[in-house]
Amino acid sequence: AQSVSQHNHHVILSEAASLELGCNYSYGGTVNLFWYVQYPGQHLQLLLKYFSGDPLVKGIKGFEAEFIKSKFSFNLRKPSVQWSDTAEYFCAVISGGNTDKLIFGTGTRLQVFP
């Protein structure tokens, strides 16, 4: 069965530090990849997505992610984090096959201190 792994469960950074959150998936065929963010007390929002084309995807609020097919990875990056980036970040994958359901990783909690 397809799965999504986020190895960083809890990340603590100071403002202006660089961020990279790992995401790996298990499916070998065509995939659509997403990063969602959940700010405290708010609902899930889309940060960015990859369907096809340029594997370096730019999203909102200065986030970007790179799809590396050979590594089955879609890591999220931001060169300089802000306190307002404190949130939970979820990687998600839609694979092909018999269904198009969206499968999420377990999430990474990011805390940014001023």
Binding site: H43, L46, I94, D100, F104
Partner: protein, 113 residues
């Protein structure tokens, strides 16, 4: 509507009672998902509806859980004989087409006491 609407936003129920959670997707969206988010856990896939196709029920944790989608729009998630471990936020999401960008509602927070 402008977004995915879920009701109730909060529900406290006694163990053993049945509950119904409602989801009104974005108008015109053909795909609808239900997820469960427990405290400190990720998002657990429950069920997926796409158009007139048979739903993917592979994530439903037990036969106490069921869901319907009437007329290709509103969906109801029913939990029978609720247990304390059912306490969670139940999230509904929809997308315009299969494999499209998915938009989430604010969730229904269920507490079983």
């Amino acid at each position: 509507g402008a977004g995915v609407s879920q009701s109730p936003s909060n529900k406290v129920t006694e163990k053993g009672k049945d509950v119904e959670l409602r989801c009104d997707p974005i108008s015109g969206h053909t795909a609808l998902y239900w997820y469960r988010q427990s405290l400190g856990q990720g998002l657990e896939f429950l069920i997926y509806f796409q158009g007139n196709s048979a739903p993917d029920k592979s994530g439903l944790p037990s036969d106490r859980f069921s869901a319907e989608r009437t007329g290709g729009s509103v969906s109801t998630l029913t939990i029978q004989r609720t247990q304390q471990e059912d306490s969670a936020v139940y999230l509904c999401a929809s997308s315009l087409y299969n494999r499209g960008t998915i938009y989430f509602g604010e969730g229904s927070w269920l507490t079983v006491v």
